[in-house]
């Protein structure tokens, strides 16, 4: 009897719930589209700004729901793999161009929709140099350039002038100045070049290698890494590293410059606000708790005493920078992918784009030609443009067209070079030479064999 009652109750419950379930399913087919947007701007203030852009877009497009997810750029590969295995990929990601190419060559990026997005914005609107960095061998686009930064040597122009030294534009000038200012007994150092086995080191080294005409591959894709030019660049880099602060160093050592303990350092244009704004510099100073240590106070004159050299010359002249891209991911949910294209298109509209770029004036430079001269763009809320002057900022922006990397040789895309970059073989080699004291030839042989493993 009890069992019969139970069965009847079950039937009643199923009859009551089923219509709602069916309706809900029907709604899911035609209802709102939702997708994830992974950004590498993980800082809370930047997340807040991007969230405002997302909210604005959602108000304009009530059928689209965007879930903004911060992902550390070093974690992007791991997270993408995990999401791919779980069938839960984001529709849109913000990612460095070299990584976009490496992932794209593995079939992760939606080249059709990324091409479509470029067409919608207008191919001519982009700096061609930036577009070239995301192009595949067959001319497809693995991602869409979004913003970028330029690297250079930032140096104490007042110290150089006092010492009668030339600006650090050539190999000779750089080494001479690094040696001159290296005074470890006074806790003062000549230069900062990356020596840890990580991306910053490769960024510093690439500019030296390319300024000596050294490449990883020739234009036909043959590995030519182990060349006399490359060896010369490695040897020169190791000599410069002697004038670093002690031990393996990375970008974080730029703090020593802000404390007045270093003459030159490699850095991107992201440093501009730290140099000029006290509240930004605070995190780099030694602080009130260490009164005996020099460098606890903000130097308001540092910004005027600092100059930047974007190009380095030896046998060639080379600049270096990184383009950050937006990429639509290859995935089965075409509605989400289409919505991602539309949202990305919105991010390139002048107001949204400038709001995004103003999160880090100088650091995030536009890849669209028209934006640099836009009046609103030149009036950033932090006043960075005013500090450096419109002319300097225009020079930095125009550098977006001249970025060179190992992965483009004579206009040809060399995908394997991007994979080598993401595997950090070159910084590992430089670590071995500068920190473990490995012989340059042995370290280069090691790096070459690692590169061959990847290519095979």
């Amino acid at each position: 009897m009890k069992n019969t009652r139970k069965v009847i109750m079950m039937i009643v419950i199923v009859c009551l719930v089923a219509p709602f379930a069916l309706v809900a399913q029907g709604e899911a087919e035609t209802g709102p589209v939702s997708f994830e947007f992974w950004t590498t701007e993980t800082q809370s203030d930047r997340m807040a700004t991007i969230q405002v852009l997302v909210d604005t877009y959602e108000i304009l497009n009530p059928d689209v729901k965007i879930n903004l997810v911060p992902v550390d750029e070093n974690e992007m590969a791991t997270q993408l793999q995990t999401a791919s295995a779980a069938g839960n990929l984001p529709a849109l990601i913000e990612i460095g161009a070299e990584n976009a190419v490496a992932f794209g060559s593995d079939g992760l990026m939606d080249v059709v929709r990324n091409g479509e997005l470029i067409d919608k914005i207008g191919e001519d609107e982009f700096y061609s140099g930036a577009l070239r960095l995301v192009a595949s061998e067959s001319g497809d686009n693995y991602a869409v350039p979004f913003h970028g930064w330029i690297q250079g040597i930032w140096y104490r122009a007042d110290w150089f002038e006092e010492a009668g030294l030339e600006p650090p534009t050539t190999w000779e000038n750089i080494e001479k100045a690094a040696e001159y200012f290296y005074n470890p007994s006074e806790n003062q150092y000549g230069i900062l070049v990356g020596t840890k086995a990580e991306g910053f080191t490769e960024q510093c080294f690439t500019q030296f290698a390319l300024s000596n005409g050294a490449q990883l591959f020739d234009k036909d894709g043959n590995l030519i890494f182990n060349s006399p030019e490359m060896k010369e660049a490695v040897e020169y880099y190791a000599r410069l590293a002697q004038y670093n602060p002690p031990g393996p160093q990375t970008w974080r050592a730029r703090d020593y410059y802000l404390q007045g303990k270093m003459a030159m350092f490699f850095y991107s244009t992201y440093i501009m606000d730290d140099l000029s704004l006290q509240e930004k510099a605070a995190g780099s100073l030694t602080g009130e708790n260490f009164a005996e240590l020099a460098g606890s106070d903000f130097d308001p004159d540092l910004v005027t005493h600092t100059q930047m050299v974007p190009l380095i010359t030896n046998t060639d002249t080379a600049g270096f920078g990184v383009v950050v891209t937006l990429g639509v991911i290859n995935q089965p949910d075409s509605a989400a992918a289409d919505a991602a294209v539309d949202f990305a298109r919105y991010l390139y509209t002048p107001n949204a784009y400038i709001t995004f770029l103003h999160m880090a004036p100088g650091g995030m430079n536009p890849v669209l030609k028209g934006i640099a001269s836009n009046e609103r763009f030149q009036n950033d809320p932090q006043g960075i443009f005013k500090h450096y002057g419109a002319e300097k900022m225009a020079e930095i922006n125009s550098g977006m067209n001249d970025i060179v990397t190992f992965s483009i040789v004579d206009g040809n895309r060399i995908t394997a070079a991007s994979t080598i970059t993401t595997k950090q073989i070159i910084p590992q080699m430089l670590y071995k030479v500068t920190q473990e004291g490995m012989d340059v030839d042995a370290a280069m042989d090691w790096a070459e064999s690692e590169m061959k493993k990847l290519i095979d």
């Binding site: 791919s84 602060p245 002690p246 031990g247 020593y256 260490f290 595997k423």
Partner: protein, 296 residues
Amino acid sequence: MEQSLSLRRSLSLEQKKARLGVQLVLPSVIVIGLLIIYPVAYNMYLSLFKVNLVGNNTFIGAKNYINIIADATFWQSVLTTFLYVVFSTFGTTLFGLVVALTMNKKFPLRAIVRSIIILPYVAPVIAVVYAWQFFFDPVNGIFIHVVVEMLGLYDQRFNLIGTPEYAIWVAIVFSIWKSFPFTYLMIIARLQTIDNNLYEAAEIDGCSSWKKFLHITLPELYFVLGTLILLRFVWNFNKFEEVYLLTENVKTLPIYTYFKAFTGVMDLGQGSALAVIQFVLLIGLIMVYVKKVLKW
């Protein structure tokens, strides 16, 4: 219904107990099966493939294993791992033992000292690692300031944590400092249960403090110490966050695996193979240890 009742009645007490035992263990078996055995088995399966980001994986047999064994860096990382594990495990145990013996004596403010000793163990790793990095910073660190500027023990500043030849020893000292409170707690708990009559009898026989330690304390602590060494060995063999965050350039097996599998475009097949090798090495060592030392 009646049939099942008669079946239940026909079970002996032993059988009923066994059945209850199975029922009690079953949920844990299912959870362990899902969360541990399945991932381990899947990992072994994956190690035989070239794992593609998109699309199907390619079966390559033992190639991942062959590549790893042929890689000199792998053997270096095995050596580094053993160096790190052996020194940090014995250091932690020895230091924990010394502190426990000291804390077992009565002295003023003992309760406060006992509480303070626990701090390194309970402090979050990331906070402590940053503190150490600031402490040993070559340009602004207080350690260098004291040994170079104030005491003049060294001519020039140096990077203690970053320099490859020192880094592993810093990691070992850090591990000992961070983990000894756990060892100390376990040992002192056992020390307090040792019958005081044993020590009194030894004293009557004229034993020195050293002999009392050697013939009473140490045998009483044997299995606690044995278990602590086993646990610390396993934990330190798999330790990632402390070593990676503090030094970055001490390539123990877990860190080597991380670089192989997750740097840049991921090589999950090779990463899986490395994890399997690490697993086999660890299980093998544990089995030897359990049989020879713990005599289970």
